[in-house]
């Protein structure tokens, strides 16, 4: 296939379509996924091609949606359960954390739970404290769950296709502010393997490790830093479990400075975990403490001013990069 311009949303939708055409056991279940076409339109019109038996509208019953997906996966289907907002993950945490994540282990390896939980998170729509969070740390903190968070259009497609081949439960968290992002991609070009990070930019002065929407802010900041003579390497994690640490270790050991950027709150978050690992594994090479640039330790407000103030952006990453290299932001 040739190059085409696609949105992040188009790519996700195409991944679902291709997977469903290929495998009749793939079913989608969730609130508003069928007739309504998905709260963020990712499953738009899928019900027309695949019917209500495979694109299943459910009542507003999150624990049962995830729990039913667990059972369906154990019984031979390939369910994609949609959780409309990652903010609702707490309601499903028993089914996800105590059931899906632990079944293979508790049952001595007899059976796995090959399901995908698709959801979306993050700020950007002034949606308030219960619809704007970045809760990936909950998932990363639960052994047994895989976790993918695509930042690019190509990854939206490939990571979702790959997630649908994995033997264990995958939580797949999209970013609500990325749905309309466009890129020119060739979906038939070879994909990066599952479980690998990607170096999105090379530079000798500083390593920025990030994922999801913050990748775009990091790249924007890296451009501005370059104009100040500071060259940053930017690493996109793509999957947080498995976590591809080798390229991070290699880059930080060579460069000696690392900044970790995450939209989730700082305390006990993904950035904390990454920072701890880098400190443990690259201690002898570090010129500076590993710096976490993360969400404030506060809930997200509906006020747009407070909302944007609560999470990192290009400016904060840029200023932090300057400070790390001993320059004072103008």
């Amino acid at each position: 296939m040739a190059l085409q311009e696609l949105t992040y949303r188009d790519a996700l939708r195409q991944a679902l379509i291709d997977a469903m055409r290929e495998n009749p056991d793939v079913v989608i279940m969730g609130e508003e996924v069928g007739r309504y076409g998905g709260a963020y339109a990712v499953t738009k019109d899928l019900i027309k091609e695949f019917g209500g038996e495979r694109v299943i509208d459910t009542p507003i019953s999150e624990p049962a949606i995830i729990g039913a997906a667990v059972g369906a996966a154990m019984a031979g289907l390939r369910p994609v359960a949609e959780l409309m907002y990652v903010d609702f993950i707490g309601m499903t945490m028993d089914q996800l954390g105590n059931q899906a994540a632990k079944i293979r282990y508790m049952f001595g390896g007899q059976i796995g739970v090959p399901m995908v939980l698709r959801t979306q998170g993050g700020t950007g729509r002034s949606a308030g404290a219960q619809h704007s969070q970045s809760l990936e740390a909950y998932v990363m903190h639960t052994p047994g769950l895989r976790l993918a968070m695509p930042a690019t259009v190509a990854d939206a497609y490939h990571l979702l296709r790959q997630a649908l081949t994995k033997p264990d439960p995958v939580v797949f968290i999209e970013h609500k502010a990325l749905y309309t992002m466009k890129e020119t991609v060739d979906l038939d070009a070879p994909a990066l393997p599952w479980g690998t990070s990607a170096v999105r930019r090379e530079g000798k002065d500083l390593v920025i490790v990030t994922y999801s929407r913050q990748l775009h802010y990091a790249l924007e900041a890296a451009k501005k830093l370059a104009a100040q003579g500071i060259e940053a390497t930017v690493i996109d994690l793509r999957t947080l479990n498995p976590l591809d640490f080798d390229p991070i270790r290699e880059a930080v050991s060579r460069i000696g400075r690392a900044m970790v950027v995450s939209e989730g709150v700082m305390t006990a978050g993904v950035a904390a975990e990454l920072s701890a690992r880098i400190t443990e594994e690259c201690f002898d090479y570090l010129e500076d403490p590993v710096v976490r640039v993360a969400g404030e330790d506060i809930p997200i407000s509906v006020s747009t001013a407070l909302e944007t103030g609560s999470v990192p952006g290009a400016q904060l990453i840029y200023e932090t990069g300057l400070k790390m290299l001993g320059k004072v932001p103008a």
Partner: protein, 348 residues
């Protein structure tokens, strides 16, 4: 719950059709202005849910409540809060994410609250506010206050297990709790019969030992009568469930054009207009003249127009307020990320 602060008195119970009409008109007009604020780009929040078509539920049930009663609402709760005595200016400012709003712009439409008026909070989690009334009911009984606590929620919340856990506890402990299901037929694009095999939800409440009733929301007097009766029992420790049938006139949220609904069905649904129904009844029974009603409509229009001007004139909350109220005021505020970065990178 923090101690109640000074508040404007809640409206006194009044089952008079004229006052119901007035309240329903205020709600409808307020909601129309919310839509306008959104169109003008002056509203924070992509998520604005209007209660047009459901005014009788708010007006009818709230008139049965008294000062000191508490309540929670779902995400479509503007009308309920107004009917419990909210100041429309502060409501609109909150919806616009402004500092002068009820929650200083932090909560918005879906998280508005006011302890002074007994509003324990609107909720953006479907079903999220329901169990709090069990707790408030326990507290009312414990303190012998004679107050009730009412949970308002949509038909969609009947898919949430927490509703059944809460009703069971309320019945088990004979708590002064009222569960009000505003059945506007839809949860987003899902019609109630596409979400449950038995839409007679009030029968479920009976199975738990509550009083369960269903009433047509077209007629505010019928809603009011049922609410008065049920609330009298609730105050005596007989928890109740009231399902009010109405129709969601517009989309789920402001941007939703409801393409999943048959236009003929919408047309018919909007015939079920509690405001128009009450207006016609007032005229028919000679309780008001056309001139009086027109004057009332002008007055309410002006009251609600002012909320837009008020909101547009208000400031966004300053960034310095961002760290306030994560914890109690006497506790230290969380350290800002920027401060932390500077501290970590400080060189001597």
């Amino acid at each position: 719950m923090t101690k109640p602060v000074a508040h404007t008195p809640a409206p006194r119970p009044n089952t008079d059709l004229t006052s119901h009409y007035r309240m329903m008109l205020r709600i409808r007009t307020f909601e129309e202005r919310v839509g306008e604020l959104f169109v003008r780009g002056q509203s924070a929040g992509s998520m604005l849910h209007l209660s047009i078509g459901e005014e009788s539920a708010a007006a009818g049930v709230c008139a049965a409540m008294v000062e000191g009663d508490t309540f929670t609402t779902h995400h479509r709760g503007h009308g309920i809060f107004l009917a419990r005595g909210a100041d429309p200016n502060r409501m609109m400012a909150e919806i616009g994410g402004k500092e002068a709003g009820y929650c200083h712009g932090k909560g918005g439409s879906m998280h508005i609250a006011d302890m002074g008026l007994g509003h324990l909070g609107a909720n953006a989690i479907v079903g999220g506010g329901i169990p709090a009334v069990v707790g408030a009911g326990l507290a009312a009984r414990h303190h012998g206050s004679g107050k009730i606590s009412a949970a308002f929620f949509g038909d969609g919340a009947t898919g949430q297990g927490i509703l059944y856990e809460s009703m069971n506890m309320a019945a088990l402990w004979s708590l002064p709790c009222l569960f009000v299901c505003i059945n506007n037929q839809y949860g987003m694009g899902t019609r109630i019969d596409q979400a449950t095999a038995n839409p007679e939800i009030h029968e479920r409440a009976r199975a738990f030992g509550l009083v369960g009733e269903r009433v047509d929301g077209l007629d505010v007097e019928a809603v009011s009568e049922a609410a008065d009766r049920l609330v009298a029992g609730v105050r005596q420790g007989k928890p109740a469930f009231l399902m009010i049938d109405c129709y969601r006139f517009y989309g789920h949220a402001r941007k939703d054009k409801s393409p999943y609904r048959d236009p003929a069905e919408e047309e018919q649904g909007r015939q079920k207009d509690p405001v128009a129904f009450a207006r016609a009844a007032l005229l028919e029974r000679g309780l008001a003249t056309e001139a009086e009603l027109t004057a009332l409509e002008t007055e309410v229009g002006a009251e609600m127009d002012a909320t837009i001007d008020f909101t547009i004139a208000q400031k966004e909350p300053p960034l310095s307020t961002m760290f306030r109220d994560v914890y109690a005021p006497e506790e230290p505020e969380p350290e800002p990320v920027r401060t932390r970065i500077d501290r970590v990178l400080a060189r001597d």
